[in-house]
Amino acid sequence: MTWPLRALLGPMLWAAAFSAIYAVHGLGCALDWPARPAPVGDLHRFALISLWLASLMGGALILWRMPKAGDAGGRIARAGGWIGFLAILLTLFPVLGLTTCG
């Protein structure tokens, strides 16, 4: 895989995770998932946290499998991996504790 494509993997995973979690959040409020019990509290929080952890693992996997950065292209690809992982961590962490549906 060429380095530009590798660079895009992390950010694209973040885009997919962000869309999925925002969509599941909206769907869960509309379908009243907070009223249904599940591990970690209710079905809504369980679904959101599961999606988040899965995305984090995906992001970590992308970083782990990234070849060692040799030239400028390799460094940019690696940076892309970090961007994806950190973005998943730092933009979607609210699934952990915030009020789900208000």
Binding site: P4, H25, I76, G80, P94
Partner: protein, 821 residues
């Protein structure tokens, strides 16, 4: 890649004459209308953008005059509403985007070592769409029917019930017309940056400006379609009553907000990135050094391009969305400041490692630093949800957006104008006026907008025209208005400075800023063909002028440039580009006719105009391809490359992939609209579907089968299956017609409107597939498709697959809706 060998030197003047004859255009009106040259078109974009800036600036002066006193006796409210709506709309759509497009179009081929952009006729078409669309909007202002619902046109205010006049339609149709030009520019920029670089120029060897423009263009491809979809849906709702945003019939005004801001937030980063590219180009030259952190900056651009699509709900923090969702967007909005900070500190680091000189472009860059950083910080404040709940829709936001737009776009663009004017015009500066203009603008700007943060926190909302009950707002508003006039004087002086340079300036010397970069390695003003030969690494401007690079001159009496492989820049084939033609202006005029017919409500003639558009579009294929084998072209001693019609992965295919990314985004937004309305909108579920699933299943099945057949036929080599595919596509259209006849009344409920709209999307794509299949048939008959020449076949094949995929998804969606309900 084995480095190609240089060509033997020739007489530079003879080469110039040969190239100018082939690449130039006749003087006078005919030449003006038929030019496809990127330098001329880029300059036209920038000059027109300046004119629109002046118009919108005068509107701003009217706003500030109105707000200088609390009684608001200057304008009546209806006119005031048109004026502030037009100020925002003109600045965002008719100034900022065209300005950056023009700069990119002008500079990129020069910086990359190419002769022109990938699709010269498309460049011209984009220009005419911009001009005609902008003219429609300006004429509406002069006629007193300008849009008046705010530049973001929230529904229900902008729906037919509450905005019955033609004003909202001017915005919806006019802006969409101009956006066609933006999407066209985006496709061109991507294809040019990826495929038309100098031989051996790897992606990581490109000037940073090319990376910034690549990122910007990618954002445009994905950022404009949500607005195009929203505008089309709202116009259909206004014209035909199909409910997408009307709550009573299953629509939702929040759908408009989501679609608008999905565009609107990336829009401001689309505006910022090219300006940052200008900074990354100009600052190192002003500091006599190289930029610090090339790789980090590329990574920062990558981060910005993606993250900026995750912020849009921060414009909607007060609509009642639950806190967790708001927190996602709050965190993302803050995170996007990180790649911005990386660039800012890389620039400061560059200054520290070099020897900065305070010449006029550097002065404007200092204007950027002192303004944009403050704007970015107030942006982070606005990203914080509880604070946003107080500051949203107040003068605080107006202050913030002007800090980031003027700081982050206007100051860098002024630096760029001053820096590159010698290349545009061949003239040197007249000292003194530019410096005075800068200080007036800087003082005027901060005087106007710094205090406006306080005005907003004191409770003054945006977009009001009078405030008789709030004496505490009088002084801040008066201060803002007075300094606004100072800033306006500064901009007028800046324009004067540019005019003085162009009219009275002496001849500029080569590379006046001693940058040593490719765009300065040519005569000034830049000739129509840029460089006499395409640069190999290490060649000087003189070498290039004497034809020692690749593809010297124009010996075959046609416009040729090199196409390379995207990653490493290895030369692949020679692209023969179109000559001057009236086709772009005619096509834009026909589309303009369609827009005007829609605007004035003549819907039946508008449908006929669609046919006219199709006929005019058909003419574009006349240039494509070649009827006989022409043999490879020798670009340098021992290196022969095929011409573009003999290769499979030509520019047209790359361009089509880019276009399909934009199209696919529009489709994805449509799917989002379906999902959003079904789940979130009040007044669902819809009433029972009339004919029911069973009756629709047969035509739907026929539709899918015929498209499947067409896709299979499209795969037969050299478009052998074109004539059979025409029959399959005819059957597809018939099936779609049966489905249309069986549809429920689209005005009844949003679900029915969405189904009708989806069917319309399918019919449009099948229609285009039909035209492409017909084209392939014609090209087989006249020899343009033959062994060794593929011409339009890959384009048809890819389009056919896209049509099948989207039709299948839509059919599946409707089937799922019927089963689940």
């Amino acid at each position: 890649m084995i480095p190609p060998r240089p060509n033997p030197p020739q007489n530079a003047l003879r080469l110039h004459r040969e190239l100018d004859r082939v690449w130039g255009r006749p003087p006078g009106l005919r030449g003006f209308l038929s030019s496809v040259n990127h330098s001329e078109l880029g300059l036209r974009f920038m000059i027109a953008a300046f004119v629109f800036f002046a118009v919108a600036g005068m509107l701003a002066m009217l706003i500030r005059t109105q707000l200088a006193t609390p009684g608001g006796a200057f304008l009546d409210t209806a006119h005031y509403n048109q004026i502030f709506t037009m100020h925002g709309s003109i600045m965002m759509f008719l100034f900022a985007i065209p300005m950056l497009e023009g700069l990119g179009m002008y500079l990129l081929p020069k910086m990359l070592g190419a002769r022109d952009l990938a699709f010269p006729r498309l460049s011209a078409f984009g220009w005419w769409c911009y001009l005609f669309g902008g003219a429609i909007i300006l004429l509406a202002l002069l006629a007193g029917v300008a849009p008046d619902g705010g530049w973001f046109m929230y529904t229900p205010l902008s729906s037919k019930t509450y905005s019955p006049g033609i004003n909202a339609d001017v915005w919806l149709l006019g802006i969409t017309f101009v956006e066609v030009s933006a999407v066209a520019a985006a496709v061109e920029i991507i294809v040019t940056v990826l495929r038309m670089r100098a031989p051996g120029m790897r992606l990581t060897d490109m000037p940073l400006m090319a990376w910034y423009m690549l990122g910007t263009a990618a954002m445009m491809l994905v950022g404009f379609p949500p607005l195009i979809l929203g505008s089309v849906l709202l116009e259909i709702e206004r014209a035909f009553g199909w409910p997408f945003f009307d709550v009573a019939r299953g629509g939702d005004p929040l759908l408009w907000q989501h679609l608008f801001w999905l565009f609107g937030h990336p829009e401001v980063y689309i505006i910022f990135l090219p300006a940052a590219g200008a900074i990354s180009t100009i600052l190192p030259v002003m500091c006599r050094t190289r930029i610090m952190g090339y790789g980090a900056i590329v990574a920062a651009v990558l981060g910005l391009v993606f993250l900026s699509f995750g912020l849009w709900v921060h414009h909607m923090f007060a609509v009642g969305i639950p806190h967790m969702a708001l927190a996602f967007f709050s965190a993302a909005s803050a995170l996007v400041a990180v790649p911005t900070a990386v660039q800012i500190f890389a620039w400061i680091g560059t200054m520290w490692q070099g020897r900065p000189q305070m010449r006029l472009p550097m002065l404007h860059l200092m204007g950027f630093f002192s303004t944009f950083v403050m704007g970015g910080l107030t942006g982070v404040m606005l990203a914080i949800v509880p604070f946003n709940w107080q500051a949203h829709d107040t003068a605080f936001v107006t202050a913030h957006l002007h800090y980031v737009l003027i700081g982050g776009f206007v100051f860098p663009m002024m630096a760029a104008a001053v820096y590159w004017l010698p290349l545009f015009s061949g003239c040197a500066r007249v000292k003194g006026v530019g410096e005075a203009a800068f200080w007036l603008i800087l003082t005027g700007f901060h005087g106007t907008f710094l205090i406006m943060h306080l005005t907003g926190l004191l409770g003054m909302p945006r977009r009001i025209d009078a405030y008789p009950d709030n004496p505490e707002w009088i002084l801040p508003n008066l201060v803002s208005s007075l300094f606004g006039f100072v800033m306006a004087m500064g901009f007028a002086l800046f324009l004067l400075d540019l005019l003085l340079q162009v009219v009275f300036g002496s001849r500029a010397r080569r590379d006046p800023w001693e940058a040593g970069t490719l765009e300065w390695a040519m005569p000034m003003p830049a000739p129509s063909y840029n460089i006499a030969s395409l640069p190999l690494p290490g060649q000087t401007a003189l070498d290039l002028a004497r034809g020692e690079g690749m593809l010297p001159g124009a010996p075959r009496d046609r416009r040729e440039t090199l196409v390379v492989e995207a990653l490493g820049g290895a030369p692949r084939h020679v692209a023969v580009l179109p000559e001057n033609t009236l086709l772009p202006v005619v096509t834009a005029a026909v589309i303009g006719g369609f827009v005007l017919l829609m605007l004035f409500g003549f819907y039946r003639p508008a449908a006929v105009a669609l046919a006219a558009i199709a006929l005019t579009a058909w003419q574009w294929q006349g240039f494509m391809g070649c009827r006989r084998d022409a043999g490879p072209v020798e670009v340098s001693p021992g290196l022969r490359l095929p011409p573009n019609w003999a290769v499979e992965d030509g520019l047209a295919r790359t361009g089509l992939v880019c276009l399909l990314i934009a199209n696919g985004t529009l489709f994805a937004c449509f799917l989002f609209a379906v999902g959003f309305l079904s789940v979130i909108a009040p007044n669902w579920p819809a009433p029972e579907s009339g004919p029911g699933t069973a009756r629709a299943a047969i035509p739907a099945g026929l539709l899918l089968l015929s498209l499947l057949a067409a896709s299979a036929l499209a795969r037969l080599s050299l478009a052998r299956g074109a004539s059979a595919a025409l029959l399959a596509l005819g059957a597809a259209l018939a099936a779609a017609g049966l489905l249309a006849a069986g549809l429920d009344d689209p005005t009844r409920h949003a679900r029915d409107a969405l189904r009708a709209a989806g069917l319309g999307y399918v019919v449009l794509h099948v229609g285009i597939a039909l035209m492409l299949a017909l084209l392939c048939l014609v090209q087989r008959r006249d020899g343009r498709i033959a062994p060794g020449r593929v011409s339009a076949w890959p384009v048809w094949r890819i389009w056919q697959d896209y049509t099948l995929a989207t039709t299948a998804v839509l059919t599946g969606l409707v089937a799922a809706q019927e089963v689940l309900s």
